[in-house]
């Protein structure tokens, strides 16, 4: 084994590389990239602009170049490919698997993608045209057309011949799919089984007919869930007639899972566009401003609302002291509740408890938490601020806020989910702002009634 060291991109190497690009130092570039894996070259290229990156890629073989372009994240690639003309792109796309080719074509302006499609090899062209019909986020949009098909009446040796014929097109494969003469999926034979079986055995004697398949229209998150649940490294895709039309490999699904986690984090932190810290100042500002504005609007509404209670505030200034306490607790309770609901919605294999049962439980937890927190606040305020009716009012308001925020936090993701929105939306900004407002309303209404 060549020593495997994960390539570490240092500032020194980056600067030296920049120098080489500026000097058009072919030799240095070729030599230094020789022992680096394509995935690491991709990471390196993120450090340079499109023209510079293209200059580097043009020095590499077409195969590695295609692999690197395929590795880029979609947003960077859209920018980067602007410096390529369509004949250069055709060369690259021709090297890719059908699913990767379709992904790139989907990102390009329609005119350019039409030109590229026209220039593709006949087989890849027809595969890509078929794939472009599907949305990117369903099984059909995730699958590749490259797979190895065998008829059930073949022998093992015929099967291996077929593999030999197709091996050039199909890169990663772990199983042969068994179909009938109409291409209806019958089952699969693992490669390991094929190796161990006598070559004259018929496929129908050894294939596994209890195979998990997904249909073209199933959502990517559903496909991920199924592959995770049944520990699959690849899954065949069938159309509504049950005909085998493609296969999805686990590496694509790993990307789906990571992207979902990333997206959810962004939703939870109120970032409205897919940005990274490394992106430009302007992009960073734009992604963050919308939710900050909503927060500001909420704050201004609170201010207006508190204005109605100016008389009470003027009479007992200490009322103001507890606004942060009430507001923060409302927000915290809301986020916790909605998070737990989002989590349970993401786990659809369980029997649903039913809305009322669920609310009853949420209510019980809120009662205990609310009682406990109120008691503590009553005790501490009594010690720190001395005795007084305000302590009691704050504790009662806090108790009510915990109950209401739990309710809102539980119900919002359920409603969003019912109407087809991502329930994770409720784990973030929306719940926080609502509960901030609600908390303050409850607090001042309690004061109005009791003080």
């Amino acid at each position: 084994m060549k020593e495997f060291l994960e390539f570490e991109l240092t500032k020194e190497f980056r600067d030296r590389f920049q120098q080489a690009i500026d000097d058009h130092d072919h030799d240095f570039i070729r030599r230094s990239l020789e022992d680096i894996k394509p995935a690491d070259i991709t990471a390196l290229l993120y450090e340079f602009n499109s023209e510079e990156s293209k200059y580097v890629l043009d020095l590499l073989s077409l195969e590695i170049r295609s692999q690197i372009i395929n590795d880029l994240d979609s947003e960077s690639r859209i920018q980067f490919l602007k410096v390529y003309n369509s004949s250069e792109l055709t060369e690259v796309v021709n090297m890719l698997d059908s699913d990767d080719a379709a992904d790139i074509l989907n990102e390009l302006p329609i005119k350019i993608s039409e030109e590229i499609i026209a220039g593709l090899d006949a087989m890849l062209r027809s595969q890509v045209i078929d794939l472009l019909r599907y949305d990117a986020n369903v099984a059909g949009g995730l699958m590749a057309k490259e797979l190895i098909k065998a008829r059930d009446y073949w022998t093992v040796v015929q099967c291996i011949d077929e593999i030999r014929k197709q091996a050039e097109n199909v890169t990663k494969f772990y199983a042969v799919y068994v179909v009938d003469d109409q291409d209806k999926l019958l089952g699969r034979v693992a490669l390991s089984k094929l190796i161990l079986t006598d070559s004259k055995t018929l496929v129908k004697e050894i294939f596994d007919d209890d195979v998990v398949a997904v249909e073209t229209y199933q959502e990517d998150s559903e496909v991920a869930e199924i592959m995770k649940k049944y520990d699959l490294e690849s899954v065949p895709v069938v159309n509504v007639q049950g005909h085998l039309v493609g296969r999805i490999t686990i590496d694509d699904v790993v990307d789906v899972i990571s992207e979902q986690a990333e997206e959810e984090r962004q939703i939870m932190s109120g970032i409205t566009e897919n940005v990274e810290e490394d992106d430009s100042i302007w992009l960073n500002t734009r992604a963050r401003l919308p939710w900050l504005l909503i927060g500001i609007l909420g704050g201004l509404l609170s201010a207006r609302f508190m204005g109605f209670f100016e008389a009470e505030l003027a009479r007992v200034t200490a009322i103001a002291f507890f606004v942060p306490l009430i507001q923060a607790t409302g927000g915290n309770v809301g986020i916790q509740s909605s998070s737990l609901v989002v989590q349970s919605l993401a786990n659809p294999s369980f029997v649903d408890e039913g809305l009322w049962q669920r609310l009853l439980k949420v209510f019980s937890v809120a009662l205990i938490n609310g009682f406990f927190l109120s008691a503590i606040v009553y005790g501490v305020t009594w010690i720190v601020f001395g005795s007084g009716i305000l302590n009691l009012v704050v504790s009662i308001a806090l108790f009510c806020v915990v109950l209401f925020a739990s309710f809102i936090g539980t119900i919002t993701p359920l409603i969003l989910n019912r109407f087809g929105f991502n329930p994770a939306l409720a784990s973030g900004p929306f719940i926080t702002t609502t509960n901030d407002l609600l908390g303050i309303a409850i607090y001042f209404l309690t004061i109005h009634l009791l003080l």
Copy 2:
């Protein structure tokens, strides 16, 4: 293909099944589980208590029983296995792959796990003893010992014979690992290549020496990152001497990725224990209370702090109106900033920009956002509340809060990361409470200086 329908667990079926368990209706239970995949039976069993689940499992074959017990999540399994005695457990563990066996043994009380280990088949026993030396969250704790090894001087047909010998122990395999006589890893041969190569060819002529391996001590998140980056379906594990000691398959890593995402969501929403909404009321309360208490503490500190400014508040009551606005904005800006840092820390392949460059950028974004938000607040307060110096004070305070919260949000995850804590901790409760307090402090200091 048997029709593949994802099994849907309905309330009717659950109730009918409960009935069957109560009536000891073997036939119904066996019949209804016949066509259900083990992973679906696992989901079904979550609906019943340990004794009921054991009753059902005892009706199934040992193979399926073991698979289901292996499928359970760790927490449920710890509870569930309490109704098994050690000879029953030995039977089950004997059916598992070494990595799964080690996971279960790690969860059991030491006395029971020792009894089980003593009863295991010799080969599995030595494998398991080797695996138990590693922490669960490093490559060594994630790997399985089952793999197929070939010497580089073998022929393809010798290789296939070896596969035949080992195939019973090794369930999923996609490649044969090539080692020298000291078991030092030299490379790998994909099964697909083995199938297509003439049987008299030597392994050394066809094996791929450019293979990615991980070392036993590498963290699971690192292993996940490497497998994702290089699109691997399995990765060999070597010890410090470079000897092949195991392999990790992608399905284990998919679990690692999902668990990390889950854990991060819980951190972000201030839930301190791994709970689900379905868990008991007491567990739910206990997981949520600690962070709510910290929030309450922050709120009480705010109250105490605002107490120092009672005179100002009594003089200009309207000061109180803008406390929610200031507080919410501080929290929101802080979370956004820390989230972006956490995200960039999770992406270690990039050249680090350097602390000062990073802070400069954060500062620029904060300047733009702060300026924009302050201007809006100044305008709106002027329209709604009329002109006055307070509008100006609020806007200036808001501007400062945005700058400071960005700074805290950026620096906290970097500090946590430096000291070896999970930086995601900074995307949640901690940042929010700090920024709540900070925001109020800045607001009142501005008032003290300017009003």
